[in-house]
């Protein structure tokens, strides 16, 4: 093939370098921009310090982290039992559940937020006016990614035998799920949780149009007066997400069956659909 001749190698190398430059330069620029002292020249960490010292930004970071935690907890509490139940006792519902879980990929978040006003009038009526009420709609938003991760893990184990063994030894359904099934699909749960965290921390569409001040909303607000701080916060979110996915790749690498694809290929599949909050 072409890559074997010297000319081919140079050509390939040049192309890869061009792609690398296009993708990595903006990331480098963020690091450079956020540490640059615009007035006096030289370097300053002022923008990064603002992540803690700027009250509004700090509050928004706390809110977003709380939202991420609540979303993961609620998503797992609802999705894991549902998916196990569907496989064991209600196979007739499998198609519907899968369809509903993947539906948010086809319905843009922007459309959901347009139709959400009336629903949230009721939600805030019952639960009060708090950004944390976004948890519910965020669970819907992360469903496709979480579903795929957990579904892959469930497919890899012999769920029926496991649960029958547990049940015949006298375990109730809750014990079976919590102490027998969950430990066996741990990698899928972890991957669902991490992807959900990344999605929630990056979500802007629904939060901004519902008028809640989450991290991304605050970043845009601050960006109008203080560019470096916004860039620092954006880069921090990005690095945080990258570290999460890296940990995930390392943790799940050892657990995969030999037949599974290359772990680096297998983990990112949830990202291959639209509906990602861009």
């Amino acid at each position: 093939m072409r890559g074997k001749t010297l000319g081919g190698k140079v050509f390939r190398g040049a192309l890869l370098a061009a792609f690398g430059l296009f993708f990595l330069f903006p990331l480098y620029a963020m690091a450079d921009f956020s540490t640059r002292n615009l007035l006096a020249g030289g370097r300053t960490m002022a923008a990064w310090k603002n992540l803690i010292t700027d009250d509004a930004l700090y509050q928004a970071i706390v809110i977003s982290l709380l939202l991420a935690v609540f979303t993961v907890v609620l998503m797992l509490l609802i999705l894991v039992p549902t998916m196990i139940w569907v496989r064991l006792r209600a196979p007739w519902a499998k198609g519907v559940v899968e369809f509903l879980c993947l539906l948010p990929l086809t319905i843009p978040a922007l459309v959901i937020v347009v139709g959400l006003r009336n629903v949230y009038l009721w939600v805030t009526y019952f639960l009060g006016e708090s950004a944390l009420t976004l948890t519910f709609v965020y669970v819907v938003l992360v469903l496709p990614f979480a579903y795929r991760a957990i579904d892959a893990a469930l497919s890899a184990i012999d769920l029926k035998t496991l649960s029958e063994a547990a049940r015949s030894l006298g375990a109730g359904w809750l014990t079976t799920i919590a102490r027998v099934v969950v430990p066996n699909i741990w990698s899928g749960i972890l991957s669902a949780a991490f992807i959900s965290i990344a999605v929630v921390l990056g979500e802007y569409t629904i939060a901004s149009l519902s008028g809640y001040e989450t991290l991304q909303v605050q970043i845009v607000l601050i960006g109008k007066s203080d560019g470096p701080t916004s860039v620092a916060a954006s880069l921090a979110t990005l690095v945080f997400g990258f570290v999460l996915l890296l940990i995930l790749a390392l943790v799940t690498r050892g657990r995969r069956r030999p037949t599974a694809a290359d772990p680096a290929v297998a983990t990112p599949t949830p990202a291959t659909q639209p509906g990602v909050p861009t």
Binding site: M1, R2, G3, L15, L16, F19, F23, F25, P26, Y28, M30, F33, S34, I78, T82, W85, R89, A90, A93, L100, P104, T106, I107, P108, A109, L110, V111, I112, V114, G115, L116, N118, F136, V137, V139, G202, Y204, T205, S208, L209, Q216, I219, K224, G227, V231, S234, G241, F242, L245, D262, A264, V265, T267, P268, A271, T272, Q273, P274, P277, T278
Partner: protein, 281 residues
């Protein structure tokens, strides 16, 4: 029957959540696009054919189609570059991992990444200014449609790599050997075997990229704070200012327009994926 009811009870929380926070909002959009205060009316739909709405739609289609073409072509090239390297190579793993992160890297952070690069005080802007004397950020093109095309390309290429690598990997070495042993040149193999096999996957990926760009909101919203050149931003304007064009509830019609287009594209995409699966699995 009672057993079936008992068996479906544990599914109730899931169905309740999805119904309230996904089905109801979507239904609200569809119904409210046609009913004004409970009375059937085509006024909101008619507003879709106003100059403002048509221009936003056209620019959205232009943005989505151009970034989907650029993303699909460049993404396919990058996918080919890494697939033709050894399966175990560090390069291949690194590129695929990076792409999986960057495909998700839309939104606010991406807007600020480009502001930091080629914005008014961007790193590249200042560097070019210093060394060549050109003003890269001149005339604020980054905030226009051209700027959005460049910025969207940044997440479209990685998405293409992720969806197209499996298709390229599905090309079996035996097919190439069979073609070569029958006397085909490399060019003939590509023209008559590989390209026809990859075409459905390529078109499918193109549609996926189109829908991805068409529904994207956060990047454009963070970059363009005033005016509404594209459909998602017009929806923002309609939502936040309540009255656009003297039409309250205009956002419902615009959102319906978005659902219809994205759904149509995704249905075509699924049809192509099924066709691809016939050969490349």
């Amino acid at each position: 029957m009672s057993r079936r009811i008992r068996e479906s009870l544990p599914l109730l929380p899931f169905f309740a959540l999805v119904t309230i926070f996904l089905i109801v909002p979507t239904a609200t959009v569809i119904v409210s696009a046609f009913f004004v205060d409970g009375v059937f009316s085509l006024a909101r739909i008619a507003a879709l054919f106003s100059d403002t709405a048509l221009s936003a739609l056209w620019k959205s289609v232009l943005l989505s189609a151009s970034t989907a073409i650029i993303g699909a072509v460049l993404g396919a090239v990058l996918a080919w570059l890494i697939v033709s390297s050894a399966p175990t190579s560090v390069l291949r793993r690194a590129v695929i991992s990076l792409c999986s992160v960057l495909a998700q890297f839309g939104g606010v952070a991406l807007a600020f990444a480009f502001l930091a690069t080629i914005g008014l005080n961007g790193v590249l802007t200042l560097w070019v200014q210093e060394h060549f004397g050109w003003n890269l950020a001149g005339s604020g093109w980054l905030y226009s449609l051209t700027g959005l095309i460049l910025v969207y390309t940044y997440f479209q290429i990685p998405l293409m790599v992720i969806v197209f690598v499996p298709a390229l990997e599905g090309l079996r070495e035996q097919w190439r050997e069979a073609a070569v042993s029958l006397g085909a040149s490399t060019f003939q193999y590509w023209r008559q075997v590989a390209v026809p096999l990859l075409t459905p996957a390529f078109l499918g990926s193109f549609l996926l990229l189109f829908a991805n760009a068409f529904a994207a909101y956060a990047t454009a919203a963070a970059l363009v704070s005033q005016g509404s050149p594209i459909l998602p931003l017009l929806i923002r304007a309609a939502l936040t200012s309540e009255v656009v064009l003297g039409q309250s509830g205009f956002a419902y019609a615009l959102a319906l327009e978005m659902i219809v287009i994205v759904a149509a594209v995704m249905i075509a995409y699924n049809a192509l994926v099924r066709r691809t699966a016939r050969w490349l699995q």
